[in-house]
Assembly symmetry: D2
Homo-oligomer: 363 residues x 4
Amino acid sequence: MATADNIKELFKLNNIKRQIRIGIIGAGRIGKIHADNLLRLQQAEVVAVSDLFAGPELEEWAVARGIQSIMKDSGAIIANPDIDAVFICASTDTHVPLIKQAALAGKHIFCEKPISMDIRQTEEAVEAARQAGVMLQIGFNRRFDHNFKRIREHVQSGTIGEPHVIKITSRDPNPPHPDYIKVSGGIFMDMMIHDFDMARYVSGSEIEEVYAQGNVLINPVFAEYGDVDTAIVTLKFENGALGVIDNSRQAAYGYDQRMEVFGSKGNVAVANDHPNTAEISTAAGVYKDNPLHFFLERYNEAYIEETQLFIDCILNGKPVPVDGQDGLQAERTALAAKLSMRLKRPVKVSEVLQLAEQYSAFL
Amino acid sequence: MATADNIKELFKLNNIKRQIRIGIIGAGRIGKIHADNLLRLQQAEVVAVSDLFAGPELEEWAVARGIQSIMKDSGAIIANPDIDAVFICASTDTHVPLIKQAALAGKHIFCEKPISMDIRQTEEAVEAARQAGVMLQIGFNRRFDHNFKRIREHVQSGTIGEPHVIKITSRDPNPPHPDYIKVSGGIFMDMMIHDFDMARYVSGSEIEEVYAQGNVLINPVFAEYGDVDTAIVTLKFENGALGVIDNSRQAAYGYDQRMEVFGSKGNVAVANDHPNTAEISTAAGVYKDNPLHFFLERYNEAYIEETQLFIDCILNGKPVPVDGQDGLQAERTALAAKLSMRLKRPVKVSEVLQLAEQYSAFL
Amino acid sequence: MATADNIKELFKLNNIKRQIRIGIIGAGRIGKIHADNLLRLQQAEVVAVSDLFAGPELEEWAVARGIQSIMKDSGAIIANPDIDAVFICASTDTHVPLIKQAALAGKHIFCEKPISMDIRQTEEAVEAARQAGVMLQIGFNRRFDHNFKRIREHVQSGTIGEPHVIKITSRDPNPPHPDYIKVSGGIFMDMMIHDFDMARYVSGSEIEEVYAQGNVLINPVFAEYGDVDTAIVTLKFENGALGVIDNSRQAAYGYDQRMEVFGSKGNVAVANDHPNTAEISTAAGVYKDNPLHFFLERYNEAYIEETQLFIDCILNGKPVPVDGQDGLQAERTALAAKLSMRLKRPVKVSEVLQLAEQYSAFL
Amino acid sequence: MATADNIKELFKLNNIKRQIRIGIIGAGRIGKIHADNLLRLQQAEVVAVSDLFAGPELEEWAVARGIQSIMKDSGAIIANPDIDAVFICASTDTHVPLIKQAALAGKHIFCEKPISMDIRQTEEAVEAARQAGVMLQIGFNRRFDHNFKRIREHVQSGTIGEPHVIKITSRDPNPPHPDYIKVSGGIFMDMMIHDFDMARYVSGSEIEEVYAQGNVLINPVFAEYGDVDTAIVTLKFENGALGVIDNSRQAAYGYDQRMEVFGSKGNVAVANDHPNTAEISTAAGVYKDNPLHFFLERYNEAYIEETQLFIDCILNGKPVPVDGQDGLQAERTALAAKLSMRLKRPVKVSEVLQLAEQYSAFL
């Protein structure tokens, strides 16, 4: 929740020198969100945006925000010596080459999830950033959600003792467009990857093994691309805890994002956020409005906070809150889930590389 | 919730002829509960109680209730031609022989769960009752809980569309005594068996396959008996739905009994029952009292209802609401979970008999 | 919530000698409730019931409960030397003479609220019981409700500090029959009298002054009898706290019974009881079932507890939990509210007798 | 809740011409809030800020926001022909002369509540704006709160039928500084004035009469200034509905802002907003975090929306959502409450002017 004090901070900006100059690569929905959130920050300036489909509409969007440089090719952004950091928001297949180029050019990097769908390549990209000494933050925005942060705080402070069971429910209001499903990497790499990261984040432990089940219950189009629309994955953590994540591509009542951690001393659970607290009682029963519709509404504040922290880390030389290893580990887990569902057996996160090679034909 | 109208019904009893005469075999905690609930019913009379450890204390208990016959041996109950039905509440290992004897004697049978821990024997017992033409009801009391019934009603009426994901959480306030753990049959047969039955009940579909994970996180004594205290089992239903059950033997905040069914048109979820609705707000936060402590409090009304229905079915020749096949199916599923955890792979409910023979050594 | 342990206690009964023999005067809805609740008690026996309209239906009701003596005239109950205590559940206008007669006859008395609508007469009745040395308990059943008891506990234990503001909402699902409205004594004496008693009970302080507003918003029939169907009364307590009660004769969603006490260290609030905890989420929103329908459902346990305590007080010579002074004080407050609404000014509880004489014409 | 789409709108700003040029008079807490919210708007520009205590700190604050003109005297703002509208956020005693001056100078006016504590003067100010043909919006920010708007929507759409009872609870986390209490105008004019406006807003009806009770329960300093810290006011509306507002200057658990409207077809109630939905269950009970701390957090979005709407009304020549008559009516009601508490009788809103003259000595 942005407080008035935050806003004062955010707005200390418009007419004073901004210290970090940003280029945004990929101006789809998420790229534009990041741009808007960066515009709120005193220390950041969005100086250029590239998008393969840049045209009059994007120009207008940029002009309204005082962003002066719009282009189709990301190359000029990476080559621009005045740019300190890039936000990689283009399609997933471009992430690895862009990270490598940006790292070589000495730019700090914020990259959307997943880095790639090929663990080897993701490893190379993460290594490239490491060798170049640039910061690489991955866009796991949910770590900055007010509800999930509160879970983690209670786990870390010991309120609920040692974690025993981690449960995550994540359901979208509507499935993505079939064109997107085709290239999405599947439900585990595209959607549940957030939950794998959250499971690590809230539990404070690594996932050791997964067992995945999935089915096509919403739309047969998922089957056409070898994907599922409904999935449950159980987790075994290194510290002995167990976990379960359930995903659905379509919840009639909107975006459903809940989580709980049960431990030796108690349980902490978070419910959905609703647009208001109104409770209406009539002869028909007691009802309230559905949860906030989708991720833009629910994670609005989280998106703002992740960009603030990225800029802050650059300015103050602090390690980013979600780094390349986090991205890599979530991808490995997603791949393990994919393999588990195909092989119909539990799969260890540590064996994914080997299995991926063995079963590359069907992945 | 017993309404005053119910109570009027319940009490129409004491001085008029009771039509169904009952013998209770095993007067531990649950046997006594059933006796007390039967005493509320106009149409039932508890005429005899047997318990291996019958003594002055049980005599006193019986006298206070006007139960005139107390004995150690269950044989006299089964041989008594005046007794119409028996409640089998003795230890699990006695269930099968008692069912067979009672069936031969033409008594209707209410048997606590599980019937046995050996599927073959359970099958024999169920078959014996079928051949004798007596009613056999299994003590899955949770089917009569006000919350879970409401879930089933909403699933059946189509409010939430086709079920996609069934989720059940069941946590006890305290682990049982080690002596009990030893003979309990393990977490799946002793505790999660209720949840397997509930999964069938609320989903309206059979469980096809399970995958079980478990760990010892609460007390090493469970490991001594080859048992676990924390478990997660994922389910695949015949209708394509997926499910997950998580169990813990110890929740610091008390008895945790929640469930939800997510479907194509929505979700229905039930929370715990609390002893009151008081919400206290102080400088330290907003708090409320913990859930109803344990099964006696939470399922008080459900226990009453299951005995009412059993008597009603006998009187009116209606099929019992939870029959031998229900008992058998829950046991098969529990065994599948046990096998799955040992074999570290998903197990089909249909293959348990064969696997049980193959792996009998370690079961 | 009746626990299984309670039930064991309750049922220790049927075939052993009961110590307290009861006569019930008036077998309408509430008289029957008390009878049924007394039947649950080991130490009580309902030996006679009188009702002006006694007939075959009541006979049948009594036979089913083993109550052997049914009559039209209450005289025989009061004259019966074998009867230890009477429950006065007849119409309000009979309460005072019945209390006087029963007191003279040395019977302990449980009397429904209000004792009468004439303070002087109520005073006489209370005094008669006092002089005769018999117990007189008034039927303010809500004092025994699980939610309201929890409020009082938190006020008494100091959790919320010194009480500053007491708020009570009480709304019925449906207005009473016009025939009843006519003789009800009006909303303050018939309905809000419960809330005046609760205000004293939860605050631990006497009401000093009231200011009442009312209106006819539901049904013009209330106006015909000089009554209102919607009312708000503000309270000033002797300890300086303030309070407010709002009543409505008709809430579309059922019985609405809420309360909160705000104090120097916090707030304790209770919500309604619902028949289950199911929350259904669909495209139309999130809904749950309405509250328990009416007082029989909501206060079922409270009715049981008030009779248990009455019997217990007789057996053990303890002061009753709600005595004649409590009944008197609630009536005085109700009268003060009635006068306040008519006089359009605040009225002190201490001045009601004088004002009642002065304005007797319109009361 | 600011959605990402809103933010895009909000930020279309920084480098394009702003159409409405604003001067802010009074740069205390609330003046600064408005400035920051105006900075988010594309169509508005804050060009000057005046404050009696302007100094280096305010200069720094202004520089960080690109506000170029800072002064002590508000005269230069009103005289500035480039300024289209003023926000009057100085102390209440300055409001009337400033409104008159600004109106004469043809500026649109946003004025904080109350306009003044003298109804005659407020009338003059409102009339001055009317005659000058400038817009005058009053700062009743709560009308734009997501919860309260939802109540009004349900009342207006008829979901709950005809309103019968309106209930508002408003409690501050801490009392104001004694220096402020002295000049605050008292609890009714300073604090409950918001609730009087809300009562009109959500009910859609005028308040006809009030009866006020108050006491000093928190801090004797209130008594020193003839004020109270705890108050309950009952309301009679022109449409026959009844209402009640309770205020406290200090709630241990933070800012408590709740409301409900009960009507012929149902009830709509809103609860507090909390910083997260986390529910923690331990052996000590179930708890959650306290509500959002105070008005800056709770009404953050409402403050943003009221300035957006003001600018929008100016740009599009639409009537402002809260006008001078709204300000006046709330003040009349507050005065009626003050008189009622002093005179110990209900007071009609229509008689306040006459009574105020009659009792001017003690007001």
